[in-house]
């Protein structure tokens, strides 16, 4: 049941009826549309809204409800000023399988992955990991049946509607199609993650 879902003493999980409301909802909340909000955490279908205290939650609930009822469903438009170009060498261990699963062939997968700009929908899983959406729908492939115990840092993967890049070596079940040298995570940078929510990514094939 979409709406404002309870999430403990000082947070609400907001689930819009239309997932296309999420970007505008997240932007509005991050921009201070509801007083008393201390943290906004977007995810695939929901956004967590944390208030500083139970009383702030009580005070902000009506405004949050109003925002949810009025926020538009919009397909976000790529913003060149917020677009990061990432060079990828397409030689991942699952590239051949993805080429087969999608029926696109290797060149077709590379063309589809580099053609459409991807939007950073949300972060999670590990520091600096970004879930990218809005790519070519023909690239939707399931996760690997068996996750790899160790995926090298910089690996570029696909899973469901998402593409993502492993910021550091970790276990992982995404289908790996390539690798990048891009520095996704620099603790001394502000923000430390190269790909923060609302940014756009364009992949570029390099040898």
């Amino acid at each position: 049941m979409p709406g404002l879902l309870p999430c403990g003493p000082d947070a609400i999980l907001v689930e819009p009826a239309d997932v296309a409301q999420l970007p505008a909802l997240t932007d509005a909340l991050a921009g201070g549309a509801v007083a008393g909000v201390t943290e906004v955490v977007p995810a695939a279908r929901t956004v967590l809204v944390r208030f500083g205290s139970p009383s702030a939650l009580t005070a902000g609930r009506a405004a949050l409800d109003h925002l949810l009822a009025t926020v538009p469903a919009v397909v976000p438009v790529p913003d060149p000023g917020r677009t990061v170009t990432i060079a990828v060498t397409y030689d991942g261990p699952d590239l051949a399988e993805v080429a087969e699963l999608t029926g696109l062939g290797v060149d077709g997968v590379v063309a589809a992955h580099t053609a459409a700009p991807w939007r950073v929908a949300f972060g999670g899983f590990a520091p600096g990991f970004a879930y990218l959406t809005g790519g070519d729908p023909r690239l939707q492939v399931p996760r690997r049946a068996e996750p790899r115990p160790s995926v090298p840092a910089g690996s570029v993967g696909l899973a469901g509607e998402f593409s993502g890049i492993y910021p550091r070596s970790s276990p992982g079940g995404w289908q790996l199609i390539g690798r990048t040298e891009a520095a996704l995570w620099e603790p001394t940078r502000e923000p430390p993650a190269l790909l923060s929510p609302g940014r756009w990514v364009r992949f570029e094939a390099v040898p």
Binding site: L5, G8, L13, E15, V41, P42, A43, G123, G124, G128
Partner: protein
Amino acid sequence: MSALEVIRPGPLALLQDAGRPGLAALGITGSGAFDRKAFRAGAALVGNDPAGRDAAIEITLGGLVVRASGGPVQVALTGAPVPATVGGLAAPFGRAFALAEGDELALELPPRGVRSYLSVRGGLLAEPEFGSRSRDLLAQLGPPPLKAGDVMAVGLAPAWQPAADGTLEPDFPAVLEVLPGPRPDWLAEPAALARTWEVSPQSDRVGVRLLGEALAWAAARIGTELPSEPVVRGGVQVPPGGLPVLFGPDHPTTGGYPVVGVIADSDRLAQLRPGDPITLRWVR
């Protein structure tokens, strides 16, 4: 400059402070002291930053031995009451005391509870990551677990005055209150969560796992997936296997299994020991 040297770390000893709040959108979880009330009480006893920026040692099941070097240090033990000695003499619990240069403080096993805190006036220094010296065991951020031979410098004495000694009431919960979470409808019978469970040995700062009769998912949900959504400390997650996980400070920022409730006071999870019975009770 005075310092603390680790002679023996015991089962697990970690630096912890107030953690990394507000960074979940970057995939960084809150982390920080698990029993925040005990950590804050320790900070107050030695006159450290009330906002929790001075790091203390979070000691899991005692066993830690440290030596003061380079000068005296003012310390306090809080959390799970742990018998301790300095040079063979009993050390106080729940009030500040001084370690002279060369003194060794040795902790035994706390009879009850899990996590004790050793607060040091001025805090323990280590390289912070994202504004915190807390060790996040899941993301492996912050200083690694303490090991024998580690030497941690003690920060400059802060401007705050140590609090008067007070009685610290050890908090060993038999009942935990559960507030509504986002997905109770994923359970066949949400009311079935409210019963007495056993704390699993597979419990850590990421989550406290419960053992008991598995909860059934609602028939319509079986075989379906919940798109990953943000989770909170204290969240009661029920994977398809039906045994609840209660999220601790190092929980993942998002999860793909339903969170049916949220523990009202998640600090209390810090002292749950494997084998302990724990009763959950829904509150509105």
